[in-house]
Each structure stands twice: as structure tokens, then as C-alpha cells.
């Protein structure tokens, strides 16, 4: 073997030449590009705006989502900013409480799915061999089985009482793609020198993963989490629409369900079904666009476009 003078000379010094074509994202640069990335800024502003509405919105009204007794099916007015439903509920309060449910379900489900995906992806990608084979087969099976079908049948038997249990169900079924993506990343990191070094120095699997691998793909994990979040909000909306979500908690999907079953379409009550859809689309769309923006910030190759 020929020892390369490169290593001998620079030691751990800055590898300039490598750095310039594809610089490691320094904190300064990431922030610089972050505030100038229109996609990231727009996505973030939209998501934050709806988050604020979800947190503060309920304070602006005395009405609660399930409370009856308001005028029946009135269009938006100064008394009811988003109008009332056919049986006389306040749409605005349903909407802002529904937004809360969406954020809660998204955050919880994404957390569950991300933890599962990370556990399976890290272990499979790092350990390889039989463990990887078994985990891959499990991942692929869950990946192929349509999530919604499983959720429908499970929630049909097990009536879902709370947003948390709905989120748990969604999280338990939506991890596979994340596990696969994380596995692939881990796999490529596991062969790098610094990981081999840590492994050779006798550190345990968990420690190497936590100290060497996870920090080196933290931006990637963050992007994965955002996508899981958006996906969970959409799945929850579908479940709620089918009446399989918690019936005691207002959600945007439940609003759509009520609107359809009360013939809001036929009655022309657009204020009943337009807001929940706008809410879902804006949150999920904002997250997705934010994701692309962040990807461009983290990955210099994508920046020039």
C-alpha cells in the first residue's frame, strides 16, 4: 500500500479542494440560504400561520365545536365568521379546534412513525446480514399493504376514542418508507471511515448509531419527519371523514364527514366544507414546500435552481 501524502500532510486539516465543489453546510451558510429560500420561507409562514390559528383561534370565540343552538345553516357573518352548520353549530370554532387536532395527530403520528422507522432503518442498515434481511422483509410487507385498508379494518373493530390512539394507529402503519430511506442512508454511512473507527474502538451498536450515524444524517431525519407529518395529517383526515376517528373530538375530517352527511353540497353551504379542506391543504402543502426548501438548503447541489 502506498500511503498518500494527502493524509500525511494535512492530518485533520481542512480539505480545501474537497470543500469547494461541495462544501459541508456550515451553520452560517445554511442560515444564509435558509432565509433566502423562497420555498422554505413561504412553507414555514403558511404552516406557522395555521399553527397560530390552531393555538390562539379558540380564544377568539365563545362557541365550542359541538355546541348547538346557533342559527341553522347561515353563511358567514360578523357573529359567525365562518357561518353555521345545518344543525346550528359554529363553523369557525369547529375549524380552529379541528386545526388543533390536525397538528396533534400529525406530530404524534410522525413521532411514532419516525421512531419506528429510525429503529428499523438504523439497525438494518448498520448491522446488515440476517437482521437486515428480516427487517427488510417486514418493512416491505407493511409497505405493500395499503395503510388505509388496515386502518379501516382496525378502527372499525376498535373504536378510536382519542386523537392519541388515532395517531398511534397511523404511526404504526406509516413508518415503512421512512425505515427504507433511513436504512439506505445508514448503509452508506456505515461504511465510512469515522464509523468504522468508532466500531473498531469497541463502541456498542446503539452508541455508534446515536453518536456517529444519527448526527450525520440529522437534516435527512428532519426532512423525513416533515413528510411523515404531512402524510399523517392527510391519512387522519381520510379516517375522520369515514367516521373512523374519535367522534368526541372535532377534526377537519369530521367536519367534512358532517358536511357530506348533512347534504351541505346540495344545500350550497360552501362555508361548511371549504374551510376544513383549505386548512388541510395549506398545512400539508406548506410542510411539503418547506421540505423542498430545506432540502435545497441542506443539499448544495440542488441550490442553483
Amino acid at each position: 500500500m502506498v500511503a498518500t501524502p494527502e493524509i500525511a500532510l494535512t492530518g485533520e486539516g481542512a480539505a480545501l479542494e474537497d470543500a469547494y465543489p461541495e462544501p459541508p453546510v456550515r451553520r452560517f451558510e445554511a442560515l444564509h440560504f435558509a432565509v433566502r429560500n423562497a420555498k422554505l420561507v413561504v412553507g414555514l409562514v403558511v404552516v406557522l400561520a395555521f399553527l397560530v390559528a390552531a393555538i390562539a383561534g379558540p380564544w377568539l370565540t365563545d362557541a365550542t365545536p359541538f355546541e348547538f343552538g346557533y342559527p341553522l345553516g347561515e353563511p358567514p357573518s360578523s357573529a359567525h365568521w365562518l357561518g353555521t352548520t345545518a344543525p346550528g353549530q359554529d363553523v369557525y370554532s369547529q375549524f380552529v379546534y379541528g386545526l388543533r387536532s390536525s397538528f396533534v395527530v400529525g406530530a404524534l403520528a410522525a413521532t411514532v412513525a419516525a421512531l419506528l422507522g429510525m429503529a428499523i432503518g438504523f439497525l438494518g442498515g448498520y448491522l446488515g446480514g440476517v437482521v437486515d434481511e428480516v427487517l427488510s422483509v417486514i418493512t416491505n410487507i407493511v409497505l405493500v399493504i395499503p395503510t388505509l385498508a388496515v386502518l379501516i379494518i382496525v378502527s372499525a373493530y376498535l373504536s378510536v376514542g382519542s386523537v392519541a390512539s388515532e395517531a398511534l394507529l397511523i404511526g404504526l402503519t406509516s413508518w415503512p418508507w421512512a425505515a427504507r430511506a433511513i436504512r439506505a442512508q445508514t448503509f452508506s454511512l456505515a461504511s465510512r471511515d469515522f464509523v468504522s473507527l468508532a466500531r473498531l474502538s469497541g463502541q456498542g451498536t446503539v452508541k455508534v448509531i446515536a453518536k456517529e450515524i444519527a448526527p450525520n444524517m440529522s437534516s435527512y431525519l428532519f426532512l423525513t419527519f416533515i413528510l411523515l407529518f404531512g402524510g399523517a395529517v392527510l391519512i387522519a383526515a381520510t379516517l375522520d371523514f369515514l367516521g373512523l376517528g374519535p367522534s368526541q373530538v372535532m377534526s377537519l375530517g369530521l367536519m367534512l364527514n358532517n358536511a357530506v352527511s348533512n347534504a351541505a353540497l346540495q344545500l350550497g353551504m360552501w362555508w361548511w366544507f371549504i374551510p376544513p379542506g383549505v386548512g388541510i391543504t395549506a398545512i400539508v402543502g406548506g410542510l411539503y414546500i418547506m421540505n423542498v426548501g430545506l432540502d435545497e438548503v441542506f443539499n448544495p447541489k440542488l441550490r442553483r435552481t
Binding site: A3, P5, E6, L16, E17, Y20, H32
Partner: protein, 317 residues
């Protein structure tokens, strides 16, 4: 004279300003010359290689000219350079293993590339086959997908393809770094063979591995921190380095030349300077064991003897 580079400055645009990756290079490469470029990471050797064929999106030519066979190359104009690429200037990239489109049979890929450059594949095919045979590849590689070839085979395919138009200048960037030692040697010798057969006129071999240069290069150019440090015939550079940096570089390498064998591998203390705001004077000054006050003034890259250049006040002595 095949290639003449005159006062070439190529900068990288970064947020904090221009990084002077290549800061004033003047040298020539003769017809038939294989010139090795050596230096640490960040010395500007890769930037030099890229500026001769295709600039990276963040590079800009600040000054200087590149003349090939008496014609000035429009290196700053990506579109205009297309005319010269492949036919006059060509490259064997560092990433030769993954340089071939994975979803095309190699023959078809070459045929599509040739016809896009207005060259008939059918007319080129006999020569292509002859050259593949020369590097020890069977005809049927043309019917295979890249994934069916070994790393060494892909490397050879890329070398044959890159030189198919008999370019005047071939830039080989770290071409051996991904290969095992025995394949490295074979590939390096192939470069000599290609030159001997006239497939390429001049070759620039960029590498951090001096031992390869010692085997195949006619001349060696040593770079440091964006500047040319020393150039001369390969044997003279390795046996009688004039610049203190070259001496240390050679000394840090265990297997070049008998004289250095018993030497311990010693690194050079310190790091190359930042090229964002490079220091004045000799850039090696801070790490140089011989540095004196006169080094505060930048030493010119002067001809010490015919074909022998160095940029050091102490080199003449």
C-alpha cells in the same frame, strides 16, 4: 507546443467572497508530454484540471488564457467550449466507475454520444474495436450494460471513449484513486501507451499520489495554495527537488526512489493558508523551515535551468 496556460486565475464564488483556488498559473505542456500535477488537497490542482475542460458552476475565470495548438480556448464560455471538448480536450474523470449511463448498453451510449457530436458510429466502430482490444477488452463489452463490467473494465472503457477522437490534451483527474494497486499500475501504463500510439498529444495527470507520477510522468508540476511551486522533469523533481515544499512533499512519501526509503513518514507541520484572503509573499512561508525575511515578497516562478522552474528565493542557490 501543445498547451500554453498563461497567468490563469480561477476563483470559486462563495458567500464570503472569492476563494482563489487557482491564483496565477503559467506553464506549457509540450506535444507528447505527460505532465503530472501534484500537491495537497486544496492546492488548486483539481481546479486547474476542471478549468481546462469544464468549469464547475461556482467557478469563474478571473484572468488568463489557455491556448491549445495555437487556438485560445473559450474556457469561460460553457457553450463555446463544447466544440473543443472530446475532439480537442478530453477528460478521464475521477469517477470513471460511475461515468457511464447505467441504463444504456455501452455501445449504444457511445453511438448516441458520437452522433450527437456529428460523428458516425459505424465509421468509428472499427477503430473503437481496435482500441478496446488494445486495452484487453472483448468486442462484446459494447453489448453490455455498465453494471456487467468490473471496475477496471469500466475504467478502460472510459479511457478508450475519452480518447477516441484523438484529443490534443487529455486531463486525467485522480484516475487511480478508486482502483486497487495492481490495476492502478496498469491504468497508468495505459496512459503512456496511448501517448506513444498518438491517441493523445499531451496528457495532464492530476494526482495526490506521487509514486504514480514517478512511473509515468515526463514532467511534474507541484502546486501549493493555488500557486505553482515547481516544475521540471520527473526524475529531477524527485531526485533533486529545489523548492522546500517539494522536498517535504517527496520526503513524506515512503516509496518513491531508493534514497527516501529509510526516511520516516513525516508530515509538514501546519496547514495551507486560507485562499479566501491569501497571505502576501510566499504562501508556504508560515510552514517553511527555510523562510527568511525576503520571503515576505512573493517569489516569481522563474526558469532555473531549461525546463526547470521554481518559485522560491532559495531555489536558485
Amino acid at each position: 507546443m501543445s498547451l500554453a496556460v498563461d497567468n490563469l486565475r480561477v476563483y470559486y464564488r462563495t458567500l464570503r467572497g472569492d476563494v482563489r483556488a487557482l491564483d496565477g498559473a503559467t506553464f506549457t505542456v509540450q506535444d507528447g508530454e505527460i505532465m503530472g500535477v501534484a500537491g495537497e488537497s486544496g492546492c488548486g490542482k483539481t481546479t486547474l484540471g476542471k478549468s481546462l475542460i469544464r468549469l464547475d458552476g461556482r467557478m469563474r475565470v478571473a484572468e488568463g488564457t489557455v491556448t491549445l495548438d495555437g487556438v485560445e480556448l473559450p474556457i469561460a464560455d460553457d457553450r463555446a467550449m463544447d466544440t473543443y471538448r472530446f475532439r480537442h480536450v478530453s477528460i478521464v474523470p475521477q469517477y470513471a466507475m460511475s461515468a457511464l449511463n447505467p441504463i444504456r448498453r455501452i455501445g449504444r451510449m457511445i453511438s448516441e454520444l458520437l452522433s450527437s457530436r456529428g460523428v458516425s458510429y459505424d465509421e468509428t466502430l472499427p477503430e473503437l474495436r481496435r482500441r478496446l482490444a488494445l486495452v484487453g477488452l472483448e468486442d462484446d463489452v459494447l453489448d453490455r450494460y455498465p453494471i456487467e463490467l468490473s471496475g477496471g473494465m469500466k475504467q478502460r472503457v472510459v479511457m478508450v471513449l475519452s480518447t477516441l477522437m484523438n484529443p490534443s490534451l487529455l486531463v486525467a483527474d485522480e484516475l487511480t484513486s478508486a482502483l486497487d494497486v495492481s490495476t492502478q499500475k496498469a491504468v497508468a501504463e495505459m496512459l503512456v501507451e496511448f501517448r506513444d500510439r498518438g491517441f493523445v498529444k499531451s496528457t495532464i495527470v492530476i494526482t495526490h499520489d506521487l509514486s504514480i507520477l514517478y512511473q509515468i510522468a515526463d514532467t511534474i508540476l507541484v502546486m501549493y495554495a493555488g500557486k505553482l511551486v515547481e516544475k521540471g522533469p520527473a526524475a529531477e523533481i524527485t531526485e533533486d527537488p529545489r523548492h522546500p515544499y517539494t522536498r517535504l512533499l517527496i520526503a513524506s512519501l515512503p516509496e518513491v526512489g531508493v534514497r527516501f526509503e529509510e526516511r520516516r513518514l513525516t508530515g509538514i507541520a501546519g496547514r495551507p493558508p486560507s485562499l479566501l484572503r491569501p497571505p502576501t509573499g510566499c504562501r508556504f512561508r508560515a510552514r517553511c523551515p527555510l523562510a527568511t525575511e525576503e520571503c515576505a515578497e512573493e517569489p516569481p516562478f522563474v526558469e532555473l535551468a531549461p525546463g526547470r522552474h521554481a518559485a522560491c528565493w532559495k531555489a536558485a542557490a
